[in-house]
Structures are given as C-alpha cells and as structure tokens.
C-alpha cells in the first residue's frame, strides 16, 4: 500500500534498548536481561508536502521515532525508506535553550547547515543568506551578530527554524517544537511553520502531546501507545470519529475551551511500564471494552476498519 507520492515510508520499525542492570549485578543477583521496546512495530507513510503528527503520552516512543527517522539512532528492525535527498532532512527540537550552541553567534549557527550542504559557499554569500533567513522567520538581519542568550524562548525557536531552513530541507522532523513556549508565542511559531510549509512545499513529521496543536497543524494523525501506533486517520476524521478506545479517552480528557466539562470522568489507571507491557493488547488494563481475546492476543497494526487504520479487536469486531 505504498503511496505513489510518499516522501517517507516506515515499515515494521522497531527500536529496542537494553536497560538491564550492569553485567556484574546481573550475575550476582541472578537478574535477567531486560529489553525496553521503545518503538514496537510501527508503519506509516507521509505524503510529500503534508504533515503527519505523532501524538501520545510521555514515553510512548515519539522522540525515538524522530531520532530513527533523522538517523540519530539506528533501527533494531524494520525499514525506513526516504524518497528524497537524505541530506535534506532537518530537525527542530523541543528545548530552544539546549539546542543552540551558546558560544556561537546566531549567524554562525544558522549558516552551519548551509556550509555542510554547500561547502563552496563564500562568507559573503553565507552572510546574505543568513540575513534573508532571519527575515523569513521574523527576526532582524542585525540579530546575526548576537549570541543565543540574548533571545527569548520564542525567538530562539525562530532561530532553530532559520537554521533548519538553511539546509534547504524537503522534510522537517519537529519534536515538540512549541511545548516550551507560552501560548501566544506558540501561535506565532505555529503560524510561521504553516506559512513556510506553503511557501517551500515542506513535509513535516510533527510530534506533540497536545491534541489541539496537532489538530491545527496536521493532515493526518497517528496516535501512539506504548511504542505502537494504535490508530491513524486523517485529522478531521480522527476528531469526528475516533475509533480506538484510547483515542476516545484521550479526546475525552483534554480540557476543552469551547465546551468546558466540569464533570468529565477521567481516564482510569496509568500507562504501564514499557519494560513489562501487558500481554495481548497493551491497552487492555485501562480499556472498558476489553475481553478475553484482548488479554491474550495482540491486535494487528494494519487493520482497516470503518475507513481508518486501527489496532483494536473491538473496532475490528464491530463492538465499539
């Protein structure tokens, strides 16, 4: 089911981490090796020029996927196929304080990907390009001579975006790009990212735990739970007709400004440990629809039910 215009295809992607106690402790205390499946069989495609969002609670594997896609981690299994120029992938991180080298001037920070991409660039060309990029993200060309500490969180995130653009990307992986920002600053950055996508035809893998941000930004949404995608649908469909019980509960617990609900019943339980996930469907201990099959058998990840892709027996069996 490869899409002709897919820029990225991810198939049965897995990433395991060895989280065992040190070798000697294991020997002395007779402890087994322990493996954490941070990403446990994930498939998706992203269409060129579109935004796919990954959402889910802390620890579900979103950042690990970002690192696999950008090559910061090698996969343990599965395939990542990029139909484009591998050098044209850039990443924007959550923390605008940690992601900029404090000892470099902004001009040098922004020019770095450009110099990697085109080593023949002269200083004058780089300077002109940096000035242009600063203008594109709403900063002033004179900001190039300043150091990162002179900027607020929102301004730093603009610098990160200018740096990413300097690499003339086709594809941007954005890991919680606005989570550290105030809402009014977040609005400025989200609007900027949408504008840049239109102007430069960018493709985004957009990671966030905030469903209202994701709804605003994404064409398609993949909901993750414990290292797996449990549901994937076009944005409007996911909100109009969520199929997986976890998605439904997530949507139910999100505070809603337009329709506040003081009496909503919170989702029960907590996310289990990824080192020892429950057998069968890993959501079953929290799921109101779980039956015996859910407790033993693992729902397949490619089932197409009612127009969406969902990994749930209740959806598959029409019990939902």
């Amino acid at each position: 089911m490869t899409r002709a215009d897919a820029i990225l295809e991810v198939d049965a992607l897995e990433r395991r981490f060895d989280v065992s106690a040190p070798w000697l402790n294991r020997l002395l205390e007779n402890k087994p090796r322990r493996v954490l499946r941070a990403v446990d069989g994930v498939d998706f495609q992203i269409e060129r020029g579109k935004t796919l969002a990954l959402v889910g609670e802390s620890g579900c594997g979103k950042s690990t996927i970002a690192k696999l896609v950008t090559g910061l981690h090698p996969p343990s299994d599965g395939a990542i196929r990029f139909h484009g120029d591998r050098d044209r992938v850039q990443m924007i991180f959550q923390d605008p304080y940690a992601s900029l080298n404090p000892r470099w001037r902004v001009g040098r920070i922004i020019a770095e990907p450009l110099r990697t991409l085109r080593p023949e660039t002269t200083d004058a060309e780089a300077e002109a390009r940096v000035a242009e990029l600063l203008g594109i993200v709403g900063l002033s060309p004179t900001d190039a001579v300043k150091y990162p500490h002179a900027f607020s969180g929102g301004q730093r995130q603009r610098i990160s975006i200018a740096r990413a653009l300097a690499g003339e990307p086709e594809f941007l992986v954005c890991d919680e790009p606005t989570s550290a920002l105030d809402v009014s600053v977040q609005a400025q950055v989200l609007n900027l990212m949408k504008r840049l996508q239109r102007e430069f035809g960018l493709t985004y893998l957009f990671i966030s735990h905030d469903l209202s941000v994701v709804r605003h930004m994404a064409d398609e949404i993949a909901v993750m739970y414990l290292g797996r995608i449990v549901e994937m649908q076009p944005t409007a469909d996911l909100f109009a007709n969520p199929l997986h019980p976890y998605t439904r509960m997530l949507l139910d617990t999100i505070p809603d400004l337009e329709r506040p609900n003081r009496n909503r019943s919170p989702m029960r339980g907590e996310v289990p440990s990824p080192i020892a996930p429950p057998p069968g469907c890993s959501f079953h201990p929290r799921c109101p629809l779980a039956n015996d099959r859910c407790r033993t058998e693992r729902p397949s990840r490619t089932e197409h039910v009612m127009g969406g892709r969902v990994a749930c027996f209740a959806a598959e069996e029409g019990r939902i």
Binding site: D182, V183, S184, A187, N191, P255, L257, P260
Partner: protein, 322 residues
Amino acid sequence: MTDTVLDVRDLRVEFPTRRGVLTALDGVSLSIRRGEILGVVGESGAGKSMTGMAILGLLEPPGRIAGGEIHLSGDRIDTLSESEMEQVRGRRIGAIFQDPLTSLNPLFRVGDQLIETIRLHTDLTRDQAGQRALGLLREVGIPAPEDRMNSFPHQFSGGMRQRVVIALALCAEPELIVADEPTTALDVSIQAQITALLRQLCTERGTAVMLVTHDMGVIAETADRVAVMYAGRLVETGPVDDVVRRPQHPYTAGLMGSIPGLRSDVEELSMIPGSMPRLDAIPPGCAFNPRCDKAGPRCRREAPRITGEGAACWLAMEGSTA
C-alpha cells in the same frame, strides 16, 4: 462576607536591585470564598507564581511585600513573623507545586511523612495519625493505600506522587490550598485525574483553592472564577465562563484567540504582536498599551486598575481611551 477565605488587597511586591527597584506585582487584588477555585492564569513572567509565593510568605529575598494587605479568614497574615507564618503554612494554607518531589522527602516512607506532618499540626497520637494518613491516601485515590504507606516517593509514578503531595497538603485540614501548576508535569490523562480530585476536595471539604497555571483549558474546566495576569498586574477577573467566552480585556481576547481549538477551524491563529515586557521595561500607563490595537492617549498616561471583577482596560471601564 464571612465565607471569604482569602482576601488580597492592592498587593505590591518589589525587588530591590543594583539598578533600582523592580515592581514585580502591582495593585493585585483577589478574593476566594469557601469551596471556590480561583484560577490565576498568565504567561511566563506574568507574576502568577509570585502572587502565590507572596500569599504563602515564601518570597525569595530580596523580594518583599511593599504594599497592600493579605487576609486569611479575616486575619491579616502579611505582617506575621517568619515563625508565625510557618505555623500558618502548615495548618491553614496547604501548598502544591509543579514538581511533587520538592514537597516530598526522598529518604522517608510516604506514610511516615504524612504521620509526621499530621502530628506536627494536631494533637493526635501516632496511631490516630496513622489512621488519618491512611484515610487521606484513600481520599486522594491511591490504590491499596495500606501497602503504599511503606513505599518511598521514588516508587510512585508522577501522578501518584502528586496525589501524595495533595494528601500532605490536606493533613491539617487547611482553609486554603495554593496549587502552582500542579498538573503541568503530568500527562493529559493523569492531569484530568488530578484536576478532578482538586474539584472534589473543594466541594466536599469546602477548601478554597488558588489554582495557578498557564493552561487556559485546565482553568476552563476546573476553576469557578479566573484572574488573568500580565506583567505583574491583574488585567481581568470574573466568572470563568464569562472570561473565556466574552473576554473584555484586549490581552485576554488575544490570548484566547492564540489557543488552537479542539473544535473550531482556523487557518491562522490570532497573534498578539511583540512580547511581554520585562520588569525593568514596563511602559507607563496600561502595561499592555504598546501591543494593543485599541490603545489611546489615556492608555499611555494612566494605569487602569480593578479591585473587584472586570477588566483593567479604559475601553472596557469607561468606553473610551481618549
């Protein structure tokens, strides 16, 4: 109004620095009744945590209260000595912070921490205190509380730790709880559990709650009334539904428009131009005037103020900014 628990009048907090005195809070007036949740909302640096700290008597020196009064159920508390205030903090005001580990001692079992705190503030015996501790853990929704009494804080998840902190804040049955970003570090599904718990305590025990957060969604679903802060000042106060649906202050309106909705479709989020001024660069007149598209001459001259409900905006108060 005998059921007013917290009454803050015209609070002013200053920080003397080498380059002059910074005014961190200016003319902040708030009140909270029994069984009511007041949400205090604003962006980082707006002064919401500072307001909570001033009420708790925990301002970091050289910060100091330079004007105004704070009353707790009719007793003035801003003039109390350090040790008197310590008593008030344990018994009459409970505190919950963003990071539950700041309120818990990592070296002691959770049950012992609760029992110690209860005994410090009541005349109960160790056994009675143990019973109350168990009851509190049950009340805040810790499963199998008998077993968890012997656990250490690091053996709890983030959400469970925050429940323990809430139990700890409730030990002496305080009149007021100051909760500063109590759900910010938690996952959304756990966030909802904690806000539901706060609401339940507020209704069942009649505790007054000051809920400080940057998250308007949490305020909309948890608070009864809301106070919006900007640059150390109060810009708007009112019932939460009114402020969310019909904000009167241009800053509040801009803030609401910048939040992506779960339902409404807009291609562009509304933006407030510029950013909040630093404390040493607050403009004269209305602190918001350089960013406000409705600002007039009066806004640049005179600071609008509210002491009760309403919006600190000349346009909202007088119908004109001329």
